[in-house]
């Protein structure tokens, strides 16, 4: 079985978000980039499938060389090959277009992407790939079992879960639950050494034009200070929620 994991590189969750040049661009200064958490759950599941049922795991990123250390980390925790499509990830449409083009000439049985990347929170790329390549797609996937050429996936919905079955090739949107937090792997020395020997391909991008363009960023308005209510005056809290905030 061949598995492809699509990785986006995002600011570490504790990053302070700042903008530059009149709020036109995201300021990367001092920001540490990591594998998007939703993708890391998917990658871990892929490595687990490799160990359990036998598979090769490739990781793919659309973007510039600054993401290479993140791809190397993926190799160090068990992926077999890294591929970077060398073009700025201008918008979700371009990213999906590049990935779709790649998998059409390099077919995979299972494609794993995250349910959303935590930077632009788009939640768009996997569905677009599914449409472009006419693949079955299960989003918010919290359980995945492969049996021969078919898959059983559990999807978390608003207010419930459903189990879906689909034939491979399949694309999923992964999130926590697919593996537990404690299953995530940290690269060890051996893994890091091995990663240096693994194939790392940088492939040219195809022509593709974006359908959206960010013109500027804004920060939310600063918040008024919290109103503290003494612990022995619950009535006051209820009164405030009812008459001031009007939420009761």
């Amino acid at each position: 079985m061949k598995i492809l994991v699509c990785l986006s590189c995002v600011p570490d969750t504790t990053s302070k978000i700042n903008f530059k040049d009149n709020d036109k661009f995201f300021d990367e200064q001092g920001v540490q980039f990591v594998i998007n958490p939703n993708d890391e759950f998917g990658l871990t599941r892929a490595i687990w499938l490799k160990e359990k049922i036998g598979a090769t795991v490739d990781v793919l990123h659309v973007g510039e060389a600054s993401a290479d250390p993140t791809l190397r980390k993926a190799l160090a925790i068990g992926a077999d090959k890294a591929i970077r499509i060398d073009t700025p990830a201008t918008d979700a449409f371009v990213v999906a277009d590049q990935i779709s083009d790649f998998i059409q000439s390099n077919p995979y049985n299972l494609i794993i992407a995250g349910r959303e990347s935590i930077d632009y929170n788009g939640s768009m790329v996997p569905g677009m790939i599914a449409a472009n390549c006419d693949l079955a797609f299960v989003n918010n996937c919290v359980k995945l079992e492969i049996d021969g050429s078919s898959a059983s996936c559990t999807r978390e919905m608003d207010g419930g879960m459903e189990v879906l079955s689909a034939d491979l090739p399949l694309i999923i949107g992964s999130q926590k639950g697919l593996v537990e937090e404690t299953d995530l792997r940290i690269p060890n020395m051996r893994g890091i050494m091995q990663a240096r020997q693994k194939p790392f391909e940088v492939v040219p991008a195809k022509e593709s034009s974006p359908k959206t363009a960010i013109s500027s960023f804004e920060k939310p308005a600063p918040k008024a200070a919290v109103k503290l209510v003494p612990a022995d005056n619950i009535d006051q809290l209820i009164d405030l929620l009812q008459n001031e905030a009007k939420v009761l």
């Binding site: 978000i17 939640s123 768009m124 419930g160 209510v229 612990a231 619950i234 809290l237 939420v247």
Partner: protein, 314 residues
């Protein structure tokens, strides 16, 4: 050329967010000097949608009884083509986000999710949407031929119109890609996505045996229950209750956080809620900086009293 809006239903019943979405759709149609077409699929409450000023309301009968994203997207593509729609409006529910990417791919459309306002410019269309897990907003211009707007939850008031719309029934049949083999739907309880109030507990509650305190408060408020990440990692509560940046997003009217310190990843996922109340023993807990109201106090004392008083009130 009309604006096409997809109003979601579940088991025939309209989802709560659909009313807000339709209000947005009408305002958008007015702003863009065009009309609104609402599409529902397998909906049994179309009457309620007739009051949102749409010039057309199409209720599709799909053979598939569950939300099959590919089927739904294909059905909307057909309608978008026949209506020649340039702008399509959907919600930000888990289902809508599941379908949205497929729809955008099939239509080769530009797509923006978590949109919080009406477009600020029309030619080209520019929309404001939240990014970086609610830490910022971006203004994005849609440069393609077809645009999809994914409206964030709970960002505007509902407004109905006086004229009413007639409903057209249509059939649809598209290839199914994923077959549902079982489903588990929480019955009769508010869900994190739909509830007006969410009561959430953190590690400060000490153990799963104390969750009755959270559930009792949620019960009097008709609220959904949620938790911080460590609480679900430790198995005190199911993963589906984990909220925050890597959990479910919360955008409710009232979010009550009990025994939650307010780590940046937690706040990122719940900050879109309108009013936040924090109950924590530690006056230095970071959550107080993001809260509207707070009580510095022990959850084990404050919660029973709060629940009691709210019960007496109702």
């Amino acid at each position: 050329m009309s604006i096409l809006l997809f109003a979601e239903s579940q088991q025939g019943k309209l989802k709560k967010g659909s009313y807000e979405l339709c209000s947005y759709g009408f305002a958008l149609a007015q702003q863009q000097n065009t009309s609104l077409t609402i599409v529902t699929i397998n909906c049994e409450e179309t009457d309620q949608l007739a009051q949102y000023g749409a010039s057309k309301l199409i209720n599709l009968k799909a053979k598939v009884g569950y939300f099959e994203a590919n089927t739904y997207a294909s059905a909307l593509v057909d309608i978008a083509k026949s209506e020649q729609s340039k702008i399509i409006v959907i919600s930000s529910s888990a289902d809508a986000k599941y379908m949205g990417g497929i729809l955008a791919g099939k239509l080769q459309a530009g797509y923006v999710t978590n949109v919080v306002e009406l477009p600020s410019t029309s030619e080209p269309l520019t929309v404001k949407h939240s990014v970086f897990s609610n830490k910022a907003f971006a203004n994005t211009t849609l440069t393609g031929k077809i645009h999809i707007i994914g409206l964030a939850n709970n960002v505007l008031e509902e407004t109905t119109q006086s004229s009413s719309t007639t409903v057209e029934q249509q059939d649809t049949q598209v290839a199914i890609k994923c077959t549902q083999s079982s489903v588990e739907q929480i019955q009769g309880k508010a869900t994190i996505a739909d509830a007006d109030v969410v009561v959430s507990g953190g590690r400060g509650l000490k153990g799963p045996e104390n969750w009755g305190l959270i559930e009792d408060l949620a019960d009097v408020l008709g609220a959904a229950t949620a938790c911080s990440k460590p609480v679900s990692d430790m198995g005190w509560r199911p993963h589906s209750e984990h909220v925050g940046q890597t959990g479910k997003p919360v955008a409710t009217n009232l979010y009550i956080a009990v025994g939650i310190s307010g780590a940046i990843q937690h706040i990122a996922g719940v900050n879109a809620s309108k009013v936040k109340v924090v109950i924590n023993t530690d006056p230095e807990a970071p959550f107080f900086k993001a809260a509207d109201y707070g009580i510095v106090g022990d959850a084990f004392e404050v919660l029973p009293k709060l629940t009691e008083k709210l019960k007496a009130r109702s």
